[in-house]
Amino acid sequence: MQALNESGSFFLELFFSGLTRGSIYALIALGYTMVYGIIGLINFAHGEIYMIGAFVGLTVAGILSILQFNLIAILVLAALFAMVYAAAYGYTIEKVAYKPLRGSTRLAPLISAIGMSMFLREYVILAQTPDFVSFPALTEGLFDLGAFSSMIQPTELVILIFSFLMMAGLFILIKKTKIGKAMRAISQDREMAMLLGVNSDRMISLTFMIGSALAAFGAILISAHVGQINYNIGFVVGIKAFTAAVLGGIGSIPGAALGGIILGLTESFATGYVSSDYEDVFAFGILVLILIFKPAGILGKSTTEKV
């Protein structure tokens, strides 16, 4: 009985750790999937926006803590500034690197995105530092879990709660508001939507901004949990989130959320029950497995092509 309890609680621990990681993947995957849905572009610089969000958050948190604000105010303002700045960066990047390329070949924006991502990494190295820097534990004191803290850490619970709130907000935005309707219209048929009076350029910019803000929000939550950042943090997360978006069916918003969580859980259980040596092999393995059976991802629509 004792053994069963122990293995049961180990399972739960792994479950929560996977869920935490997965909800971060999901937040970032949303950015990929929204951009893809609306203009069919893999925004490789998305991971770098996440990283820039973390650095802006650190700057703001640092200034406010020198000014002796209280922890909650710091957390709120840091997250807010990070999101605003990430949105501004997302907007600018779209205008500089992708908009002039609209209507050209499918691969040209991809290369432009890879170039942009390199540029942003080097930019942060030069402007800030190539080293790891410590990030304040802003979310540590928010909850006191008492006896449950062996199962899930307070910082992890914060990530879970807030990322789910964010995602719920996004769903409402997409499903219920006029903006969401316009976005969906563009992703279905851009020319038709434009004929019906939707300002497509503005909607595309808005999509980039929302996606970037979500990524920055995720960056603040996870950085406060892990405690350090550097210019490279966006790379692995970006690739994983992209994987999650494809896993769930790229272009589908619930798909991105689901894909992120499946990926997080897979990694966590692979580490817990097999070995962390092959964590990524499992992550990509499940991707291949799902795509073999569902070539458009879990919730993706498999389009029948007309001839």
Partner: protein, 414 residues
Amino acid sequence: MVENIKKSSIIAVWFIFLSFPLVVLRVDYIDKTIDYRWHNILWIGIGAFFISWVWRYFLKRKNESDKSSEGKNQGTSASTSRFQVQKIFEHKFALLGILIAAAIVPQFMSTYQTSIFITAMMYVVLGLGLNIVVGMAGLLDLGYVAFYAVGAYTYGLLNLHFGLGFWISIPIAGVLAASFGVLLGIPVLRLRGDYLAIVTLGFGEIVRLVLENWDVVTRGPSGIPGIPKPAFFGVKLGFAGNMTYLFYIILALVVIAMVATRRLQSSRIGRSWVALREDEIACQAMGIDTTKAKLAAFGLGAFWAGIIGVFFAAKSSFVSPMSFTFFESAIILSIVVLGGMGSVLGVILAAGILILLPEYLRFMADYRLLIFGALMVVMMVFKPGGLITNIRQQYTLPKRNSKEELAELHSSET
């Protein structure tokens, strides 16, 4: 003018706002210190002002030329086709010129320069190989580096365990990499576009992880040192001689790869790849076996990566998983796209730019990757079709007057 100043000023202010928390402020959270670098505002402002001006100017010119070329296309097609034929000849001469120059060049270069030119030429072959998959067959492959790794490790391991030489390893590695290509091809046959991209990316990562973790066979992250360079008919050449020898081997490989891709392009399979790229369903309807065409593209593309892998192992005499990251795949893909998808001369130029540029930018040490990334964006924005637009082979009939044609038509009818 006033309009431009106004626009550029707004952009300058916007970029100052964007860069402010990162470029001006630097906060140390532990020591509670803020480092202010106000002078950077000036640089960002001036830079953004002028760059945006130039940017707008060139963007306008590009749009205008796009429009005017559209207009031209509606005109007589004969004049454009003649123009293209001429261009093909120009390319041939340019290629020949590059080759001749390349053949003599190591006589005048230092060993270091020879060495980086070898690297550039390796990427030419890799670009030509990936071009088969991406450029011709239109299958987006982000894990091409995996086949490169397979080739390098094939030589490294065969040499370590069985003492096999360079020349014998080349065909083995080529065939092995090609079979890996086919192996990857089978599960992803049903996938399209971006799904394919992420699966191939995953495949590349998996190969690297296996190399890293499977110590018993691959020696893990410590890699395989001391891989011998090819001997020149049993003669030991010394350091400089070795480099020159490698230079000519890779030059020969470039020539062979160029001729092979050229011939492949106009072969039956090459044309079926183009059909596959343009419209898969129509291609199937024409009776082309798409499965076979796709697998052939993956296999043949991987074949070249395998061969260059062997060459890489011989050149650096050391292989480790660190050399086969996603970044490498991204660079090879950039060469293909930047070169103009399918153009041989384009691949050569792009490889030259992407590989030699960072080496020659060394004097700017800190800024070189920043400039490199920015340049990739700029080149794509202003030349999205790549440096050299590939011209599909045209079969021109002897020219006739439309009147004559009509007359002939009439006469044949009667």
